[in-house]
Structures are given as C-alpha cells and as structure tokens.
C-alpha cells in the first residue's frame, strides 16, 4: 500500500495537518496519489498508532482546532527502506482507453467532441504545471526542492503526451 508512504513522503518535506494534506498540495503528491479526506484522516490515525508520525494539537481562535502532524525518526526509517526497494511498475488504469476501445460502436462525431474536450482538460492542467515551474522552480535547487521538481516535470511530460495523442487521434478519425 502506498497512501501511507505518500503521506510520509509529504511529511518528510515539512509538518502538515490532515487538511493541508488533502488540499494545499499543488504541484505535489495530490497529482500522482489522490486521496479523499476520509482516507487521509484514517491513514494518519494508523500512522500514529504505528509510531511513524506524531501530532500536537494546536488551538485556534475563530477557526477549529487542528492537529499538526510530524514524521518521527521511525517514520523516516520506514519511508527510506520502502523507497529503496526496487519499483515494480504497475500499468496504470485508464478509463478513456476503454471508451476508445469501444469507439467503433459510437458516432465518430461524438468521439471527436469528447477528444476535443479531453484535450482542453489536459491543456489547462499543463498550463497550471508550467506556471508552477516558472514561478517556483527557477535557478539552482536544493536536493529537497529537486525531488519536488522532478515530480512536476513528470506531470508536464505526461500532459504533453496526452495532448499529442489527442491531436493525432483527431486526425485519424
């Protein structure tokens, strides 16, 4: 399971609340390991029981209290030994490809409209990533920032490959 390790990886870059983990993650883990708030709070609880994280309650006036989570030494150890294991590549699931595979049953026009729409969605995601690259990853990077940048670059190349595929597919239809 990887949500546990995704959370530990984020916490290795700095302390966060459950709410932060779910939301403020632009250009970060949310783009390659999405999770609902329910799932995140559940995993934080488990990680706490395992001793991989600790939290301190922080009272706030005019806002609900919150729990700020911090990764422990044991947590860092666990994350490191997990990250060192050789990766087994999992083929990603892709619903659109199933629809395309069934595309011979549909109106070509309907399919083309859908491809246009999907292309625009990927284009705006790409624009978003490029903006982050421009504003937040210029010049020399520390190892910590480089790790984050590499994941952003993956997002950029991924979105580009989608846009390219949409374009060539539209030509072939």
């Amino acid at each position: 399971m990887s949500l546990k390790h995704a959370i530990l990886a984020v916490l290795s870059h700095g302390d966060r609340t459950g709410y932060d983990l779910v939301h403020k993650m632009d250009g970060s883990v949310a783009n390659f390991w999405p999770a609902s708030h329910q799932q995140v709070y559940l995993e934080l609880k488990k990680l706490d029981e395992l001793g991989f994280v600790q939290y301190r309650e922080k009272e706030q006036k005019s806002r609900p209290d919150k729990k700020v989570y911090k990764i422990t030494k044991t947590g860092i150890g666990e994350l490191k030994s997990w990250a060192e294991e050789p990766l087994v590549i999992a083929t990603p699931k892709d619903e659109l490809m199933i629809k395309i595979f069934a595309g011979h049953l549909l109106e070509p026009k309907h399919l083309a409209n859908e491809l246009h729409r999907v292309r625009e969605l990927h284009q705006s995601k790409l624009d978003e990533y490029l903006a982050i690259e421009k504003t937040r990853f210029q010049g020399k990077l520390t190892p910590d920032r480089l790790a984050q940048y590499l994941t952003l670059r993956r997002g950029i190349l991924f979105e580009k490959s989608w846009i390219e595929w949409c374009n060539e597919s539209l030509k072939r239809l």
Copy 2:
C-alpha cells in the same frame, strides 16, 4: 466501475473465454486495465447474471472444457450508453513519483540506478508496442481496427514520455 465495461469492450470485438480475456490481449485492454484471472471470472459471472453476456460451454479433447462468452444486445446497449457519458479524468496513481518525492532521503547513486532500470523497462515495453504497430496496423483500418490502434498509439506515446522523463531526470541528478 470499469472492469465490467472493459470486458464488454473486448467482447464487442469478438467472442472470448475468461482465459483469453486474462491472457491473449497484447496491444489490448490488459495494457490499460489489468485484472487478475480471479477478478475476470468473477465479473464474467456477474455480467452473465445481469444479462450483458452469454456463454456456451465448449467441450475439448485433451484440454479442459471452456466457456466462450459473447456480448448480448443488452450488453452492447449498456456498453454504448456508458461509453457515451462524458469522461471524468482520474489522476493516475504513480508509486515511482512518491519514491522520487522522498528522493532527498536517498543516495543519489541509488536513485540514478533505479532510473536507469525503470527506463529500460519502459524501453522494452515501447519496443513491444512498436513491433505490434509494424506487424498488425499497417495500411487502411476498419473502424473496429482503428479503435484498437488508437489505444496502441496511446501506449506508445505514454512509454516515450517516460523514457524522456528518465533521461532528463538523470541529467538533473
């Protein structure tokens, strides 16, 4: 859920046994919706109960008997109306990106070795796809074959984007 529809999509291209669905799917659905044999047999059972597929038992000498599944008219209807719904893009889960995100905790050399290894895995997948393209998708294609070809092209562009990412990441490390 999509495994049901993945199976229906394959059956819309021709009759198959459960065994076929799990195995002989090179350049097909297995590359974007992998499933274990247990899962496939279970879904076939459910699809049968729903009336979306039918099977005839086929006795074989010197081989175990098998069930050849065929999509029904109701099944085609279900597949079509599902495929016509606008797609909601799901961000794919990617374990490697979590490891990269935690990369600042690892030896740079270890990370580089891992990236080399991953690149080779994607390269061989790409070679496989390119071979299929060359041998099986030359010349003018029927709508049915075109649908299959587009999914293959997606695989090709996907693997290329991985190789490119590995190369640029290795330079940055």
